[in-house]
Symmetry: C2
């Protein structure tokens, strides 16, 4: 890990600033953060009584859900390619 | 949406109970929730001073990051199949 170039990006998510360190580009980190910010606002609109901690947890739940769905799709496609080649 | 069967699942994520309503199975909701719980604990271990709201936001950031990476992978594969067929 220490050989990879690290960037530090400050982003605003749902009114709070975060300093995110990683090997990704600043623009990618900003894109990721804006998606989280959008999702939090979307969930907040539907559940206006949620506190920010619960809101963030439900946002994470939402995104893991989407992640598992797309992972299934990718694996099914990879399996299909394998079967067709075999 | 009203024609879809909705389930209500109560889960525990990072010590807080959530009631999640959706068209997915209870077992799928439990899987999603356990992934969020695991990720929150993983990030908390590395950043023990974070409050639970920030922890949840950074968990969401982490998952959106993984989502975009796998989405890229899926799109690249779909593009490859299209090119090979054409």
């Amino acid at each position: 890990m220490s050989e990879q170039k690290k960037t530090r990006t400050t982003v605003d998510i749902y009114g709070t600033q975060y300093s995110i360190v990683g090997s990704e580009s600043t623009s990618f980190i900003r894109l990721v953060s804006s998606i989280v910010d959008d999702k939090m606002r979307e969930i907040s609109d539907k559940n206006p009584t949620l506190d920010s901690s619960k809101l963030a947890v439900l946002t994470a739940v939402n995104v893991v859900h989407d992640y598992l769905k797309i992972k299934d799709e990718l694996e099914a496609l990879q399996e299909k390619i394998k079967t067709e080649k075999g």
